[in-house]
Structures are given as C-alpha cells and as structure tokens.
C-alpha cells in the first residue's frame, strides 16, 4: 500500500521490484524516468515521506505505507505550479527527459531552503544529470522561485 500524489494503491510486488519500475510499470505513472542503472542520473527522483530519493535505488517493498510525491502531483487542477511555469518561462528544459526528476529535486530544495543561493541551487540538483541545457537555465528557473518568495 502506498499513497502516490494523494491516491492510494495496493499491489503485490516481487521483492526485487525497484520503486521506479513499480511506479512506472505497475501504477502507470510514467512521468518519472530512468536514465541509468547506477543511481547517478536522478531522472527517477521522487519525494518519499518528505525525503528526496532516487527511486531506482529503493525497492518497492521498502516504500510500503509511504507517501510518495512524483512529478504528476505538482500541478493542481491543471494549473502548473510556480516552479513548473518557471521552467517553461526560462527555457529550463529541452528534451524534457530529466525534467521530472529535476523538478522533484528542486521542489525538495525549495521546501528546505526557500531562498537558495546559486551555489545552493547547484548543490541541490547535483544528483540530476541534464544533457541538453548545461544547467544554465535550470539554475535560473529555480533561483527565480527563491526570489519570488
């Protein structure tokens, strides 16, 4: 049993099933992505019980009873969150593959540090690889949220 973005799901899973495969393949929430098999890329980042995790580094059974937040939960009633809008406004995404994980890392960062410095922003997303943007506009977008607050 898990709560994902406010909805409860109950499934039987293989002991070896990774959380990312459970969320994508079993629950059909394909917003979170997989970019590596070693825990380096951060495309699968989710917030589990308030903590940012790479969901390929966690077994689904370890999330039993947890409250999970994924990219699908960021917008409300079809309205983009401020962070999502900032990503679009600042052109912080190109192919969009790293974006869901990047948004979750940024969300976790901004919760713990609502007004991060540039260096703090860069540290906050250092576990997320982007191959398109050189991070320039991603950093700008996240920083703009701090300034907005």
């Amino acid at each position: 049993m898990v709560d994902v973005n406010g909805a409860e799901y109950e499934r039987e899973v293989d002991a070896r099933r990774l959380l990312i495969h459970f969320v994508r393949d079993d629950l059909g929430l394909t917003g979170s992505h997989i970019g590596c098999d070693t825990g380096n890329c951060g495309a699968c980042s989710m917030i589990v019980d308030g903590t940012l995790v790479k969901s390929c580094m966690m077994l689904a059974v370890q999330a039993d009873g947890a409250r999970i937040e994924t990219v699908e939960g960021l917008a409300e009633n079809g309205e983009l969150s401020g962070l999502q809008q900032a990503f679009s406004d600042k052109h912080a995404l190109q192919c969009g593959y790293c974006t869901p994980g990047m948004l979750m890392s940024a969300t976790a960062l901004l919760r713990s540090n609502p007004n991060p410095s540039e260096e703090e922003v860069r540290k906050g997303i250092q576990g997320n690889i982007c191959r398109c943007t050189g991070y320039v506009n991603i950093v700008e977008a996240i920083k703009s949220m701090g300034e907005a607050s």
Partner: protein
C-alpha cells in the same frame, strides 16, 4: 566558482532586418506544458497487452569466435516467450548494406553476431519474457561457447602485418582510404618561410550519452506484414533504407512512430541492428515486444563518437603569420562495424580549411575497424574532429613561432567581405564575420585585462591561460558527398517534408517529417505558420513527433546534421505558403473577388479593401471539407498541403573531390580562461564566453539553449568524458560512475553573445546551429596549452584532458613535444 554571469551589457549586434510577426520572438514552447507535468510520451512509456520484454545476451569478449549458442535452458523458464540467435538472423535477413567501396563493402553486419563477436557488449542472442527481470534471468541461462581471439584496440596498428583481421571477408581492417589534394601543397611549402611539423594529435572517443537510452516497442501485423515501431530513432528515413532490404520487405512495411525523445545527438541514428532483432522477435512470437537499452549497454555497445588520429602534420607558414594550408595523415577509428561511419571519411571536408583562408591542403584519410564499440554520428559529427585539428594547428603554430593567437586567427580567418566564400574544395561558406565574433568573445572574458589576471593568479600559485575555439557548424548536407566515398551510391541533394492543413473546424494542423528530440520543433514550426497564415502560434497545432503514416516525410527525413531551421522550416514555410494560396482562392470564390484581393489576418480571410468582409478560418475549413455544393468544378484545392523543401545542390566532382557539400555555415567562437594548479594538474574553467552566429534566429531562447547545451557537452568532452579501453578491449567507463558528464556544480560561469549574419541561401535566412562544432573542446585545449607555456611549452595533443594528463604535461613537457619541429623553408 559557479556563478552564471550575465554580460554587463548585452553584447548583441543585429544585422538581420527587424522581423515583423512571430519569427524572432521567444514564444512559450508548445512542448513544455506536457513535459513539465510528466505527460510527455517517450517510447518506454508505451504499453501493449501481453507484451514481452527483450533482453540481449552480449559478448564478454572484444574478439572471439562463437562456437555454439544454447538457448534451451532459458526456454524452459515459465513466461519466457522465446529467443533469437545469430544463426536465425543469418537465415532470416540479409546483411545491412555497406556504404563504402571495398574493403569496407565486404564487411558483413547483421542484427546479431553471426559466427564471431567483435566488441564487448555485441549482442549475440536475445530473449523475450513477461517481465524485464525475468528476461534478464533468462539471458543468464543462455550458454554461449566462445573461442577468444586477439583483439585490436589501437587503430594505428590496424594495418600492421600481424594485426588481427576483424572481418575476414574484407581481408583487411581498412574500411576506406583516399587522398584529398587541393591547391598545391608543395608550392605552398616552397612559398613559406617556415614549416611547422607536428608528429601526432589524437581526438578522443566520447559520446553525448543522451539521458534516455535507445529502444522501441514493436508490433507486427500478421495480416499486412507490417511492423510498427514506437521508438526513438532520430533518422527513420535512413533507418528504413537500412532495415527494409535486410528484412526483405518493401519500405512501407516499416512504420516508425516517435513522440518525445530524451535527447539523441546523433547517437540514435544507428539503431537498425537492434530494431531488426526486435522486428524478427515480434514476428516470430506474434507478440508485441519492447526493448529498452540499459545505460551500461548504451555506453558499451550503442554508438560512440569517432576517434581520430592526426599524424605527420606539416603546416607552411609565412613570417607574417599567414598560414598557407596543411598536410595530414588521418586515421579514423570506427570501431567494429562501419555502419554510418564511412560518411565520416568525407563529412569533415565540409569544413576543410576550418574558419581559415587556407588554400593548399592534402589529407590522406584512412578509416579502420577495431574491436571497440561501433561509432555513429555524434553532435559535431566528423567536422568537430577536423575543426579541433585546425584549431590545434593554429595554436601550436602560434606558440612555436611566437605569434599572438588572436592576431594569427584574424590574419587567417575568412574575412567578412569575402562571403560567400568558396573553399579550396568547392564548399561555399554562406555568410559570417568571424573576427567580429572573436572580438565579442574576448570582450566577454575581459581579454584586455588578461595579463593582470595572469599575474594575480600567479600570486595565488596558479597558472592562468586563455584559449579560443573558432568553429563552424555546417548544416544541411548535400548527400552527393557520399559519391566521393563510393561513386555507386545513389544519394544526393537533401530534402524535408511538412504538411499544413486547414481542418473542418478551422484548425490548422501541421505535421513534420523531422524527428524532434528537444529542439522545440512544434514551437518554431508554429511561429513560421502563424506568420504566413495571419494567426497566432496558439492557433497552430503541430503534431508532436514523427509518424511514417502521416506521409509527411521523405527518404532523407530526420533530425540530424544541424538543419531543421533550414530544411524542416523550409518545408513548413512551403506548405504554409501553399495553404495560404488555397485559402485565398477559396475565399475569393465565396466573396466574389480575385485571390489577390484577399489577405489572411487575425484568423480570417478578408478583403484587403474592406476588412469587415471576412470569412473566419472555420468557415473556409467547413465549406471545402463538408459543405461544398456549388463550388466550381475547376477549383482544385485540398486545404491539405504537402511540400517538399529541396535546397539546390549539384553532384560534386568525384575526381577532384570538389563541390558544395553543405548549404549553411553557422559560426561559434568561444573563449575560455582556465587556472591550473601546477602541483596537481587540477584545473578550473574560471571564465567562459560563447558567441554564436546562426543567421536569422527564429526563437532566440531556443538558440541560446542549444549554445548552452553544446558548450556543456564540449566542456565535458574536453575535461573528463572519455571511452578508454584496456588492452583486452574492455571499456573502462561503462556507466555514469566512471564516465563523468558535467553536473550542475561542474559547469563554469557562461556568458553568451551573438550576431546575425543572415544566410543568403535559405528560405528564412536561418542556419542550422544545434551541433556547435565542439568549440568548447578547442577552447579548453587552447587555454590549457596557453596556461602551461611557462612550464616548458608542452603542447596539448589530445582532445580530452583529465587532470592526470595535465599533471603529465607539467612533469614531462618534452614528451608532448616529441617530433615537433620548425624548419626554415
């Protein structure tokens, strides 16, 4: 240390005419809304009832004979649906066609290894099961008996008498060889005051490693014999040309569908072996099959960028710093199979003299196979290697002759007033102003005060250096260059297709032949269409991705080689112009006037003389599509317009290897400032500027985003990203632990500037610009060499310079200078 610095004042010099309308504006990207919500559809997001997961069994050896493959134990597992072996592939398919003349023409390449493996990670067999995990388990049960053979890992030894031969049918490791000789090199040597000789330079292996790995979901329709591939192939036109003959089917039996693709950078052009294996499995098992490449497999066995050695370099130079050309022997390492790569033997020639006015050039080019991963186009493809070489030549010559790297560039650059400029091999550089771009880059990094900064760094015990990377991003190929490789090839020119229609409720619907991977094609296509049809980009629905069934593609369709702004948008413009003409014609019939009396504006077709008399687009769409009684019989319109854009090219002269190989040349001039710790070789990029000139910018924000991304990839390649092999042919960096791509904390402060030199040859004055020419690699290498000047003048001979290499240059500068000499001519 990682602050992103905006220029103190925007260094923007606009030459293009001011644009009216949507072109040139940073309109919100149409793609973003779905992508920021995790609602994009990447191939791996697609599911089919009862689909099977494919896992490939891969070779642990770089070179071995396959004695036997036994799949029986895997097939005993419940919910394992089936397997495929090389023996089956050899019966069911023909080898992929080879681009090269012999010896390369005789190399046999199949979807799975047949009889022999030639690189670690080569797929030997495939298994399909109900889950990813089970497929992996089953793969472990497939027993392959190998007889190891001696591997070849150094391209320089590929032609030695005792070198192992990879492809016995070819009888040689050479894929292709040829001599390119333009101008009169010997006369240039005679004219020169000095000849600088460099023994060897090496452009390293790396790849752009798109974050989304390769893959496909394949369905087979037994009734029609048709395969549908939901996939991330970035060049389906050419993919189909490869696959259909191998599968012994007509080309219409292959349907490629893409929506969102998680980056490609050229690395998703050579997916045909994997896709053929999946097609065979889908047919054999009568089941949808899905293959998602693992990251380790992506690094080990998908596609690297070309590795190239430059040897026996000679550069004739006059005493005033005028360089007259060069001579070089290039050895290109394409890994185990040639695939797309023989084209790389020619494609560098698009930028033969780099940014320079060099007229006398002799290149002896050889491409060889080795027991390493096959290569494929990789952002900057083949030109990047060559441009790195030209920039290394400039800086080494400048250093050895005591010339200023800025002045020597300006002296030798093609000059603004010389455009269009014909190179010694007949390419036509369309427009540009390299010296001006360089000035902007230098200003952005504060070049005027570099001496003080050098002294200040020295006071902190650091060595400061500044370097320039001047490159061209040639775009919109003339495929006729393939005939320089192989006169029998039937490829020439270029094309792209788009359709624009007005639908029944007045919707404007655009389909593209291109295959976007993050470049914002939906957005820029909508900008072009809305300017022509007199509406807003929001009124234009550009279907995301690519689908063979849309019939909006041609044989050379795809997203590659820096060309969308020319070919893709050229097709969109053509189709939109056609539709605009038809809409005016229809409106003129309804309104009782001539088409010339009608204008399209504000979403309506209206009388120019009296804008109150107007038909909304919806009326036009409805009248033709559903309510057309009474329309004249000779009104031949469809409101569904398909246009093929074809740039004008001629076939090059095969004997002289002479002709125009590319339509446009975007410029990137970068400047880089580094600080090296002389004790450890650790260095940091402390200042960086990238100046871009891609003609008319359709969407400046997207252009700048491409500049950022290309620069980041180049900086990664210059500093850490490398695919080294051990002597047994094992890749040492098979994942993101060992293969370090830039993270947010690795990126230096980056400043950007631009000018706009409109291309005289393209529909919109725009140029392709996404690849970036590897300017960052050239700039970093130059800056490192500059910083090390006072430490025995080592030269930077390799494109990738991790800290340990700098440490070696500091410890033994003379080693890098072996074979470096300046002779009086």
């Amino acid at each position: 240390m990682t602050e992103t610095v905006a220029p103190p004042k925007p260094l923007v010099v606009e030459e293009g005419k001011p644009q009216k309308g949507w072109i040139g504006q940073n309109v919100p990207r149409k793609e973003d809304k779905r992508l920021v919500q995790g609602e994009g559809v990447f191939f791996d997001d697609i599911r089919r009832h009862e689909m099977g997961y494919v896992h490939f069994v891969r070779s642990p050896y770089a070179h071995a004979r396959i004695k036997s493959v036994d799949v029986s134990k895997a097939l005993e597992l419940k919910e394992v649906y089936g397997t495929l072996t090389g023996d089956e592939v050899a019966i069911l398919t023909d080898p992929f066609f080879e681009l090269s003349i012999p010896p390369g023409a005789h190399m046999k390449d199949y979807a799975l290894a047949v009889g022999r493996v030639r690189f670690v990670g080569e797929p030997v067999a495939a298994v399909v099961a109900s889950t990813r995990e089970l497929a992996r388990d089953a793969a472990e049960l497939i027993e392959v008996d190998y007889e190891p053979l001696t591997p070849l890992v150094d391209a320089r030894k590929a032609q030695d008498d005792d070198a192992p031969i990879l492809h016995e049918e070819a009888g040689s490791n050479v894929v292709w060889e040829g001599v390119f000789d333009w101008g009169d090199f010997d006369a240039a040597v005679a004219e020169a005051d000095h000849v600088v000789k460099i023994k060897e330079l090496h452009f390293d292996r790396f790849s752009s490693t798109p974050l989304e790995c390769s893959g496909c979901l394949v369905e087979y329709n037994r009734g029609t014999g048709q395969w549908t591939m939901y996939c991330n192939h970035q060049m389906p036109g050419v993919g189909a040309i490869w696959m259909a003959p191998a599968l012994r089917v007509g080309i219409d039996k292959l349907r490629f569908v893409t929506q969102d693709i998680g980056g490609a950078f050229g690395n998703k052009i050579c997916l045909h072996p994997y896709f053929v294996a999946c097609c065979l499995l889908a047919r054999k098992l009568n089941r949808a099959v899905q293959w998602t490449e693992w990251r380790t497999d992506q690094h080990t066995a998908n596609a690297h960028g070309n590795e190239r050695w430059f040897q026996e370099i000679e550069v004739p130079v006059k005493s005033d710093g005028t360089m007259l050309g060069f001579k070089v022997k290039a050895v290109d390492d394409c890994g185990a199979f040639p695939r797309y790569e023989p084209l790389g033997c020619i494609i560098w020639a698009q930028v033969t003299p780099g940014c320079y006015r060099w007229r006398n050039i002799r290149v002896d080019f050889t491409q060889v196979t080795t027991n390493k991963s096959p290569v494929s186009p990789n952002r900057g493809y083949s030109r990047m290697q060559h441009l790195w070489f030209t920039e290394r030549v400039v800086d080494i010559v400048a250093s050895e002759l005591g010339l200023d790297p800025v002045e020597v560039r300006k002296r030798n650059y093609v000059k603004h007033e010389e455009f269009p400029y014909e190179t010694p091999n007949g390419c036509v550089y369309d427009s540009g102003d390299y010296a001006r771009c360089l000035d902007i880059a230098l200003e952005l990094v504060g070049y005027d005060s570099i001496d003080e900064r050098r002294a200040e760094a020295e006071s902190r015990g650091k060595l400061l250096g500044v370097g320039i990377g001047s490159t061209l991003d040639s775009g919109t190929n003339n495929f006729g260059q393939s005939t320089l490789l192989n006169p029998d090839l039937q490829f020439s020119g270029n094309n792209e297709v788009a359709t624009v229609k007005l639908d029944i409720f007045g919707e404007i619907v655009v389909t593209l032949g291109t295959v976007p991977q993050g470049q914002g094609h939906e957005t820029t296509a909508a900008q072009v269409v809305s300017d022509i049809l007199g509406c807003t980009p929001d009124d234009v629905n550009v279907r995301p991705g690519h689908d063979t069934y849309w019939n909006s593609h041609a044989g050379l369709s795809g997203t590659y080689a820096s060309q969308f702004a020319v070919t893709g948008l050229g097709a969109v413009k053509g189709a939109a112009d056609m539709l605009a003409g038809e809409m005016k014609k229809l409106a003129s019939v309804v309104l009782g006037c001539t088409p010339d009396d009608v204008e399209l504006a504000e979403g309506r077709a209206r009388l120019k003389a009296n804008p109150e008399v107007a038909l909304p687009f919806m009326a036009l769409g409805a009248i033709l599509n559903a309510n057309n009684a009474g329309l004249p019989e000779d009104l031949e319109i469809t409101l569904n317009c398909r246009y093929m854009y074809r740039p004008y090219f001629e076939l090059p002269d095969k004997e002289r290897k002479f002709g125009n190989l590319t339509l446009t040349y975007a410029t990137q001039i970068h400047a880089c400032v580094v600080e090296i710790d002389p004790e450890t070789g650790v260095y940091e990029i402390v200042d960086y500027a990238a100046v871009d000139d891609c003609g008319v910018r359709i969407h400046p924000q997207i252009v700048e985003g491409q500049v950022h991304g290309a620069t980041a990839q180049a900086l990664g390649a210059a500093t850490h990203e490398t695919f080294p092999y051990d002597e047994d042919g094992n890749l040492l960096t098979p994942n993101f632990y060992d293969y370090h791509v830039p993270h947010a904390l690795d990126m230096p402060p980056m400043k950007t500037g631009y000018i706009e030199s409109a291309s005289p040859f393209t529909p919109l004055g725009a140029k392709g610009m996404g690849e970036g020419g590897g300017a960052g690699i050239h700039a970093v290498c130059a800056a490192l060499q500059n910083a090390l000047q006072s430490r025995g003048k080592p030269i930077v001979t390799d494109s990738c310079n991790p800290y340990h290499r700098i440490w070696s240059l500091l410890r033994d500068p003379d080693a890098s200078r072996e074979g470096l000499e300046v002779t009086a001519s």
